[in-house]
Subunit: 143 residues, 2 copies
Amino acid sequence: MSVEGSQLAEVLRAHGLRVTAQRQLVLDAVRDLGHATAERVHEAICGKVTGVNITTVYRTLDLLESLGLIAHTHLSHGAPVYHLAGNRGHVHLVCHRCGAVDEIDPEVFDGLRRSLEQQRGFLLDVGHVALFGICASCEKANL
Amino acid sequence: MSVEGSQLAEVLRAHGLRVTAQRQLVLDAVRDLGHATAERVHEAICGKVTGVNITTVYRTLDLLESLGLIAHTHLSHGAPVYHLAGNRGHVHLVCHRCGAVDEIDPEVFDGLRRSLEQQRGFLLDVGHVALFGICASCEKANL
DNA sequence: GTGATTGCAAAACATTTGCATTCCA
DNA sequence: TGGAATGCAAATGTTTTGCAATCAC
């Protein structure tokens, strides 16, 4: 927390922006939750401190994303989900049945990326990809 | 139009549901538009006839989907996009820049599907997949 | 002190619901 | 005719915006 906190402060100052408690709280919540919607981030913050408005959460998520600190993906029902951007993009596996979100290494996409690029000239952005299906545990439970 | 129209009538009657002009209009619009949100379907219908309510469009899209005639995918900004379900699932390529939606054959996923299944036990549902990136024409325009 | 940031309330937007009316069967 | 389907209006839920108050610098 302290480490990420100070990183945030550096980035903010480097852009001439101000370091506020709200911004640290939002970044912390995104990190702690792993994958979370704006509303879940807000809930998490309300569990710690009081008086942080949902409006600020929306604004801060946008800000942190434009700073490259976090990124969002569209998983199932349309609610954008935020996660730390730090490490190179990861791919989301969403289970249709239980809603679990798993992450996989983007290198499984290398073959696909290459063929899309050659056949279509389409440059795949792995960070925004979400794949739907049935996860292993739901599959077992169903048998 | 007449062919799909009569198919629709058959399916509706087979389920004890009523054949209405609105249902045919919505199905026609989805087919004609290729990929469209509820709102775009509504606009398209309003261009032909007057007095079809957006509420009915939402209800009818749900109905047609539960009948297996259409399907929806979540492309970018959270608005569900509907398309004909008929032929086996296709995969959507969405351009981040211009918003164009292209379709590709699911077989490009075969390699990926196999490794996900072996490594993770994850059963990929190709129909709901949306891939983001930059399409060929935007890429060219940018250079 | 000054201007960026926040909180609040209200607006905007998309979708759903209740209920009276319409119309297919 | 009877009940499903529709239209309308209002409710709901989420995200955005305007503006005054606050707080980091």
